[in-house]
Symmetry: C2
Subunit: 673 residues, 2 copies
């Protein structure tokens, strides 16, 4: 049947693929990709989410909180301890025991800093309601390089969070079952894979999956704090005896030591930047919900961090290498019973799911950066589950490399951690301070001053962290950030160049080329087998019967006898059935080269016939088997690669599917290839 006229197909009516028979509303029936791969995808990732249903997959506050707060809240599990480790190693003034009496002042200072930073981020979310992350704030207010620096720092920190968090979780498991220690890297990779999988299934699914550990942790630590306060008020505190391996002081306390204790304790803040990078995941009104989430997060964080600090203070807890501060507090309050287990397991759980915050933040960060052109554009595309799946793949891959490279050792990775996040706090605060002082809205002075103070303090913290961990690994981050910034600039420069070249002047549209130009269609003919015949057919199809158009079957002569035989068969079997415009041409190849004579022929054609369009038909064989496929098509691949560099040539690939044809009578003369 010749082409049927399609009376309904006028104009540019959108056509939904697999359109329903005649319905006006496009009935989308196909929601999985075909074949076994499509089936596996469906089973693993679930149903795809239509773009139109996107809003229903946004996160309400009660789901956004566990997703974006896990990282920040999990730091409560170790921040107080970090302060105490530094303080306990120093004598208080007058050598009257360790300097741990400074715990509460240091904690109070950090709480103030947390409030300053969170307030600044709330301002940022308010002013940049679509993407209020540190990258955007720094880029808009400080310039491209600070913006990219913030993005690079954040990206490194997200990756480190995943690697550290998964490794820490597996370390807890292998502490319980030492026989598994040998397989810790494999286990960490499996855990990482599962986490990636849950996130690839969609934002909401990951929200539900990780809500329980987060809320469980809040409740468990809340109980410890309330119990401590109760005992304090009742005067029934029994100080905790020092655990085995407690620290003994070695130096007098100094400003530097207090500063280092403060910097260490600032690890409580890591993670609060995540909300501002994830605004697009919130249900509308996005900015308001994100801002509220930040406020709730700040409240919880201050309550938990200050509460743990207070409890540790009143119980006189000393840090130990064998038992955490939180564990000591839980033991002091609840003994070794059920409630203690709840605290222990929820602490482990929140450390594990802290990685989830990165899975929410990293892909969104990359999508924003790549939308600006500083990262490959493919990161801007949403997957069929409405998540930026390429960002998730990238995060998973890089984290997996880190886990393998560091043998899933938390200690080895820690020095690379936290540099990035404080650098980006600094840039974000500085950016907001500038923004507020330029905009000068009502009451800007206080906000700007707070942001400026935040910038200075977090800047000092950054410097202290870099200084104290430089040799152990922080230098890697210090080197890597400029490299990433440089790469980002390079990508942007390329895309800019690309866009400027690709942009079309509307005046250019009129000279859409004259389609009636003659074609010269060339196909290689090594022998008259079916594959070559299909190539010839393909060439004649393209040539059609338009005027001045020629078809050339080009034979490169390697063995004169074969050429003679081909000529003879061409004369007998092909010539009578094709028009005058189809001809066999033979080029000699004295050095047995295949590609250069073809390229020479093409060049000559272009020289001799300016204005003609050249089409090269490359006939390949599909054996239907990737191994046997390697036994063929070597010349086709080389020819394709060589012709790609000739702008004037259109390359047509015609595949001959060997399995689709029957075997002809073996008595007939003929040949393979």
């Amino acid at each position: 049947m010749r082409r049927a006229a399609r009376p309904e197909a006028g104009g540019e009516r959108p056509v939904t693929h697999r359109q329903g028979a005649g319905g006006s509303a496009p009935a989308v029936r196909r929601d999985r990709m075909p074949g076994p791969i499509g089936l596996v995808r469906r089973l693993v990732f679930g149903r795809p989410v239509p773009t139109a249903a996107g809003l229903a997959h946004r996160l309400p506050i009660y789901l956004a909180l566990p997703v974006f707060a896990s990282d920040a809240l999990s730091s409560v599990a170790y921040a107080t301890e970090e302060i105490l480790f530094v303080l306990a190693a120093a004598w208080a003034l007058g050598n009257a025991g360790p300097a741990t009496g400074l715990l509460m002042p240091v904690t109070a200072a950090i709480v103030v800093l947390i409030l300053i930073v969170v307030n600044s981020y709330r301002n940022a979310v308010h002013h940049y309601p679509t993407s209020g992350g540190s990258y955007t704030v720094a880029k808009h207010n400080l310039g491209v390089y600070p913006g990219l620096t913030a993005a690079a720092a954040l990206a490194i920190d997200y990756v480190m969070t995943v690697a550290v968090s998964v490794s820490a979780g597996i370390a807890a498991v292998t502490s319980a079952y030492p026989v598994l220690y040998h397989y810790r890297v494999e286990l960490a990779l499996v855990g990482l894979g599962l986490m990636a999988l849950v996130n690839l299934r969609g934002v909401k699914e990951s929200g539900w999956t990780f809500a329980l550990p987060a809320y469980g942790f809040i409740v468990a630590i809340g109980l410890v704090i309330l119990s401590s306060v109760y005992h304090y008020l009742c005067g029934t505190i029994v100080p905790v005896p020092p655990a085995a391996g407690a620290i003994t002081p070695i130096a007098a306390v100094s400003v530097l030591i207090v500063l280092r204790a403060f910097s260490n304790g600032c690890s409580a803040m890591t993670g609060v930047e995540a909300v501002s990078n994830g605004i697009s995941a919130f249900a509308p009104p996005e900015a308001r919900n994100a801002s509220r989430t930040l406020a709730i997060l700040a409240g919880l964080l201050v309550f938990l961090f200050a509460g743990v600090g207070f409890s540790a203070h009143v119980y006189g807890v000393l840090p130990s290498h064998t038992e955490t501060v939180v564990s000591q507090l839980a033991r002091a309050n609840f003994g070794h019973g059920f409630l203690y287990s709840i605290v222990a397991y929820s602490t482990l759980a929140i450390l594990l799911v802290a990685a989830n915050t990165s899975f929410a933040g990293f892909p969104r960060l990359f999508s924003i950066v790549s939308a600006d052109g500083y990262a490959p554009r493919i990161f801007t595309q949403l997957g069929d589950k409405l998540v930026f799946n390429r960002g998730i793949y990238t995060l998973t891959a890089v984290s997996a490399v880190l886990i393998v490279a560091f043998h899933a050792s938390v200690n080895a990775m820690i020095p690379l951690y936290a540099v990035g996040v404080f650098l980006c706090f600094t840039l974000s605060q500085a950016g907001m301070a500038r923004k507020l002082s330029v905009d000068r809205q009502r009451g800007w002075q206080a906000s700007a001053a707070f942001s400026a103070i935040g910038a200075v303090v977090t800047g000092i913290v950054t410097a202290v962290i870099i200084q104290s961990k430089f040799i152990q690994g922080a230098w890697v981050v210090v080197v890597l950030i400029p490299v990433l910034v440089f790469v980002g600039r390079g990508i942007k420069a390329h895309y800019d160049w690309f866009s400027s070249r690709m942009r079309v002047d509307p005046r250019e549209f009129s000279p859409l080329r004259d389609p009636a130009e003659p074609l010269t269609v060339i196909t290689l003919l090594s022998d008259l087998n079916r594959g070559a015949l299909q190539g010839l057919n393909c060439a004649m199809d393209i040539a059609g019967e338009r005027p001045h158009t020629e078809v050339r079957a080009l034979h490169v002569e390697l063995v004169p006898e074969a050429t003679e035989r081909l000529r003879e068969r061409w004369r007998r079997y092909v010539e009578p059935f094709v028009g005058k415009h189809v001809r066999l041409e033979v080029v000699q190849s004295p050095y047995r080269w295949l590609i250069p004579p073809v390229l020479d022929y093409v060049d000559r054609m272009m020289r001799e016939r300016p204005g003609t369009r050249l089409v090269m038909v490359i006939a390949e064989f599909e054996t239907g088997n990737p191994i046997t496929h390697l036994l063929h098509n070597a010349s086709a691949r080389r020819l394709y690669a060589a012709l790609r560099n000739k702008p004037q040539v259109m390359i047509v690939t015609s595949r001959f599917f060997i399995r689709d044809v029957g075997t002809s009578q073996p008595s007939q003369p003929g040949s393979g290839s």
Copy 2:
């Protein structure tokens, strides 16, 4: 200019590429490939050799002998020692000292075997004058599997010869300069590369390069022998004192020990099969020259091997782990002077260049096997220096892997060596015995009997070698040979299947398809940029103005606003300038997939318009830089891969060369991609 009529281009006159202006004899001026790669090729490999000049590049006997005899002659350097090592470890009957008195009888037996085997190969060359190797003989007379077994055994042996020979040469160098020992693998790879390079430059060049070491070795060892004979005749022999580390006997001599001494000594024969595999390298008359070379080789081999055996016998040389037998003989005859150095260095040189025999033999063997279809066809193609360069590449690559895997240690590789060559002696002799007894030409009985005896004896030697070296590594060869045979059969089966499918029934030629069938040309249009416009132009070029042919610019809607904008620009800028047959079509993609909607559209087109030919134009961008290239074309690559599986679709690749266009005014509306 529209296509110029070419009055002279009638019929099928062969066109030499870069044909001279009007000469009737095609003036081939271009003899190197274009660009910097072509220049490097020229400098490294030299001028290409025209096919017509092939005969001039064949080897006369005086060059063929060093090429093909190096391997066999080099074994003289160690064969006598191998015998002595076994004999010296056994007490002679009556415990009257070591059993080394059996050296001469064993040597004599091996000489007889050499004569039998060489005679058999001369018969083979006579009967199979184009390729008289063991593979051909075994395949024709014993069947496909014995033939493939011989080929696999030979191939393994060629590779082992290269790896062992190069490693031995480097071991000699690092003995002299121990500081280089740490770099022995790198040095061996460099040596291997140089050897490959010389062979890639052409047969004759390698012949000349390696002639000196071979003839030098013959002369040097000949001098040792003649001097020994002279001293013997004059009665001036002074027995050599045992070198340090001489062997002490531990067991009484037995038949098994004599057999093992015999088998070890048979290593003198390895390499004589090379001539029969290399007939095509000889100047005509090929078979006669090869046969003569074999005779000369046999004479030299017998003279040198028997002479060294005799000299060792009369000097009472005992084997030692610190000094070779040849070195002891040279020292006994010449002291430590100039002549001693000549012997030492020429021995080292011949061991090194023994690898050259493999470079001559392996590619020819592969070309014969692949011409029969048992190996990938590409091995049949002669390179532009008239050598089978792909075989040389393969041999070099596999040898390099072995050198790296075995850390260039000769001792570790030796057990894998010599199994293959004796297995293929056995098969070749057996094949010739059968051939002679079937043909029954005049005087066949003696020849057949000799071949049969040769087959039995070399068969026993094979068994002894496998038995004594099985655990140390010979098992690898025993396992590998059947695997290679199996792979070869599989390749052949595939090519047979392929040929049967590709063969054309002459009656099929008549229904060369009707080229007037309508086309439907589809191109993807994400945006109206220059690349997409070029794709559209390309589609219109292919469509031409033939009847019933349509062009579809297909847009997959991911963002409705972008689609609206595209529609609007299409209506304003494109529609007025194209015919009715060019239309924009939009397909929705609710799940943000790009490829499945396109495939659905293609399927629907094919269903709705049976008989139409579908052409998909894929527009790619060439940035002219392999790194930035990665930032584009991701969708194009995926679409290409997906469409390859649809036999009915012709795929056209249109590359847009970004560097070739200027920048348009930035003030114009437009966009990148």
